[in-house]
């Protein structure tokens, strides 16, 4: 039910939808583009494009980011001719929404566009490719520099644009595509103003029968604001993705039958120890700390119970459980046990003195700082719990709250003792492990590391990563990932605490078929997958 001020929106509704068994319209949350959004449907300008792009443009394959399985989309099938050559067969009868046919030339043009205009290549696909060709209208052949299985997700993650439009653009980097953007997707842009973006069903869509929504209205929001939460609780959104404190009271309880939320896990938020410093360079010390943190308290207090404890394996469980090596206890989840930590630390040579101060191996009291970005209030709360936990172990810990850029810069150049880091969570296993652990992602202290902020420098790990990168079979990939999870568990380069949540709230009074814990067919952000699964309520 749309109440309050948005009641004035009625003008947009087309009464015809219901007659066709369609949902008239759905109200969605924010559509990006900043607080004063400007029309921008260039799919590659990720920082500033508007949310409609996900519905207007499509990719060769679409990933279900929950279970990390690819689904045929613009391409119906793919095959590896050899480990360095990938061939896609394109779907028949797909049309651009201006009526022109979609062909492999568009795909080849798209990849060439990214090659010519590096700023548009936001996934960095051309790091791995040598060429993209269209031998015939239905086939696309992609050649890799090296065996390309590990970069498959990147290649499929590119929006395909029409050659007949984009080849006319003098500077595609500055092309905002504001007037009737041409794509193959299920929806077309209907109306835009900085407060509301309306997209409507594309009747000529190749799987138009699966699209039951006539219109989607995105509403501009200052996301996270109290007012937005209120609107959500009043039912002004059919779906939204934002942080709501006390979601149960504020949202679910207002209409338990229709109001739901599902917060599937994303990347791991871990304690990063600066491995170049003592005692963090001591694996026994790190292992001892894995039981030191009260993850449950962090989750209930700092994270309001919205998240799950993270596995020490570095994988996101249960979504990625198929990658877990067999026999890992409790899927790698570690519970809080201060006594065990105390014992392990003492055993490792870190004794407590008479005052209860934890001493280093050199006999001096151990003291260090914990940095957390001051404006991430939930992280600050979590950090406060962690600091308490560490103090309970006799460490002298000092909490610092720099601003996010300073925090990031300190983390990148290694100017810290202990802090939080985020890693993993994507469907690209190579990225998940190489970014936090690869020695090529590291740098000397004082230099900016790309993503290996803990400065894990281990030939064994690098070897496993190389295997994973070049693996051509699922089996080989799994073996490599299993090796890497072992590194995580045995050598503890970092200590994962919880999974960042993907916020997702929805209402079932107009539409059903949203993904949820019981039917996790997609992650909340997999927009087209969700759209093609929606059905009018009561049908």
């Amino acid at each position: 039910g749309c109440t309050g001020t948005s009641g004035t929106n009625g003008s947009g509704g087309t009464g015809t939808g219901a007659a066709n068994g369609l949902i008239d319209y759905l109200d969605y949350g924010d559509f990006g583009g900043g607080t004063a959004p400007q029309a921008n449907y260039n799919p590659y300008l990720e920082a500033t494009r508007l949310g409609a792009v996900d519905y207007v443009f499509e990719k060769l394959m679409v990933y279900d980011n929950f279970s990390c399985t690819p689904k045929p989309w613009l391409a119906t099938e793919f095959s590896w001719t050899d480990p360095k050559t990938l061939t896609f067969k394109l779907r028949d009868g797909v049309q651009w929404n201006d009526g022109k046919p979609f062909t492999s030339k568009d795909v080849a043009f798209t990849f060439d566009l990214l090659k010519k205009h590096q700023p548009l290549d936001t996934k960095g696909v051309w790091r791995y490719l040598t060429s993209v060709e269209a031998p015939d209208a239905q086939t696309v052949t992609i050649k890799f520099k090296e065996p390309g299985a590990s970069t498959f997700t990147l290649v499929t993650d590119v929006f395909v644009v029409p050659e007949h439009v984009w080849s006319q653009q003098a500077d595609p980097v500055k092309f905002v595509n504001a007037q009737n953007p041409v794509g193959t997707g299920p929806m077309k842009v209907k109306n835009f103003n900085p407060n509301q973006l309306t997209i409507e069903r594309n009747p000529d869509y190749w799987q138009a029968d699966k699209v039951k929504v006539q219109e989607i209205r995105f509403h501009k929001a200052d996301s996270g604001g109290a007012v937005e939460q209120l609107k959500l609780s009043r039912g002004e959104y059919d779906t939204n993705a934002m942080f709501v404190p006390d979601i149960k009271k504020a949202f679910v309880d207002r209409d338990p039958e229709h109001n739901h939320y599902w917060y599937p896990p994303g990347g791991s938020i871990s304690v990063y120890l600066n491995l170049t410093k003592a005692p963090f360079d001591d694996v026994a010390f790190r292992k001892a700390l894995t039981t030191a943190f009260d993850r449950d308290q962090i989750i209930t207090k700092a994270q309001l119970g919205y998240v799950k404890a993270a596995s020490q394996s570095g994988l996101v469980v249960p979504g990625q459980e198929k990658w877990l090596p067999a026999g890992l206890k409790d899927q790698g989840r570690i519970s809080y046990d201060a006594a065990a930590t105390d014992a392990a630390l003492t055993a490792a040579g870190y004794k407590k003195d008479a005052q209860g101060k934890r001493l280093g191996k050199d006999g001096k009291p151990l003291s260090f700082t914990f940095k957390v970005p001051g404006s991430y209030t939930d992280w600050v709360s979590a950090a406060q719990i962690i600091v308490q936990n560490l103090k309970a172990q006799g460490f002298d810990v000092n909490l610092e709250t720099p601003n996010p850029p300073t925090y990031e810069s300190d983390r990148a150049i290694g100017r810290y003792d202990v802090l939080f880091g985020v890693h993993g969570g994507s469907c690209n296993m190579f990225r998940n492990f190489s970014e936090p652990l690869g020695s090529d992602q590291s740098a000397a202290i004082g230099q900016k590391a790309a993503s290996n902020f803990v400065r894990w420098n281990d030939p064994g790990t690098d070897k496993l990563l190389e295997e994973l990168r070049l693996a051509t079979t699922d089996e080989a990939q799994k073996t490599a990932v299993a090796g890497l999870t072992k590194v995580m568990v045995d050598q503890v380069p970092m200590i994962p605490l919880w999974y960042g949540a993907k916020w997702f709230q929805y209402q079932t009074d107009k539409a059903t078929g949203w993904p949820d814990e019981k039917n996790p067919y997609a992650a909340p952000g997999d927009n087209v997958l969700v759209l093609t699964n929606l059905k009018p309520a009561g049908s």
Partner: protein
């Protein structure tokens, strides 16, 4: 003439200082706008994709040359009125963005400031006229309490009461999504409705400064010899209060008002942020948060120039209103 040259000199020097400050601020900061953009996109709980950072860094372009040549280029661009492209709204230009936000701020703050000034001056004059009466106590004590309420808090309370509980007014935004901006009545009435609460929160605390200032000035002028002489001349109390009290007491307030108008943007950041109002104040906050240096620089410059011009106008206005200054300037 000398006076004029001095003013002009000060104007240019300040402008230059502001421009230079603008140039320096981004270069003194740690962190990289591209990273800021990506971490904002992915959220604090997602890992950052280095490839994406790289692409965005390419998109924004990195200034080249040493600091001095960069400075030269920057100055030249500013002189041309070219403030570059906003990072937050790439590829839209900063000028485009400011043009989009300007009318909102000017109308909202302009109207409320003018109303505040008029109301405040009238109440202050009334309090001084009825000095030490109950009216005076009510006005001064009342305003000194209301005036100290933090207006961002007032704004929240207004939202809570009028938007959330009573649902009389929209809780934020410049207009509803259903009306497209344009010269049509639907849009204007919609925009008006949306501006009621922000305007109210500015209007509740706005007049206080003027009330106190006006009252104190007028108490003073009414104690001057010319006011006494006016009494001796048998002028009515009202007439004395107007031409001998208020007329002179309002002068410092008028200058203050011109300057307040110049600072129009500075003051609205909070209100615009709370009401999600599509003006320049909110844009400023966003630019700072996103490290959108081009936008931030331009807004900063814009505000400073606004204040400077306001100062100039205030000076000129003072000359027009107060004959005592006129002669000194003429020389």
């Amino acid at each position: 003439m000398r006076y004029f040259l001095r003013r002009a000199g000060f104007f240019l020097a300040t402008l230059w200082a502001a421009v230079t400050l603008n140039f320096l601020i981004p270069r003194l900061q740690p962190g990289d706008p591209a990273e800021a953009i990506v971490s904002r996109l992915s959220g604090q709980s997602q890992a950052i994709d280095p490839a994406q950072v790289e692409a965005i860094r390419r998109m924004l372009g990195t200034p080249d040359g040493n600091l001095l040549t960069q400075y030269g280029d920057y100055l030249a661009a500013v002189v041309r009125g070219d403030f570059g492209i906003s990072y937050t709204y790439f590829p839209y230009s900063v000028t485009h963005m400011i043009a989009a936000g300007l009318p909102w701020t000017v109308v909202l703050v302009g109207v409320t400031q003018i109303l505040s000034f008029v109301i405040g001056t009238l109440l202050g004059a009334w309090a001084a006229y009825r000095r030490n009466s109950r009216v005076d106590s009510v006005i001064t004590l009342g305003s000194s309490f209301i005036g100290t309420l933090p207006f961002f808090w007032l704004a929240l309370v207004l939202i809570y009461v009028f938007a959330i509980t009573l649902n009389w007014f929209p809780s934020g935004g410049g207009y509803g999504g259903g009306s497209n901006p344009g010269w049509n009545w639907l849009f204007f009435s919609d925009a008006f409705q949306h501006s009621v609460l922000p305007a109210l929160s500015l209007l509740i605390v706005g007049p206080i400064g003027w009330i106190i200032g006006m009252r104190n000035n007028m108490v003073q002028t009414l104690g001057e010899d010319y006011a006494r002489l006016a009494r001796a001349k048998g002028l009515s109390r009202r007439r004395i209060a107007l031409t001998y009290g208020a007329r002179i007491a309002v002068l410092p307030n008028v200058t203050g008002f011109a300057i307040a108008l110049g600072g129009i943007l500075g003051g609205t950041v909070l209100v615009e942020a709370i009401f999600n109002y599509p003006g320049l104040g909110r844009m400023m906050l966003e630019a700072v948060a996103n490290r959108d240096y081009p936008l931030m620089q331009a807004l900063f410059l814009f505000i400073t120039v606004g204040v400077l011009i306001a100062n100039l106008v205030a000076d000129l206005l003072y000359g027009v209103l107060d004959p005592r200054v006129r002669r000194e300037e003429a020389g």
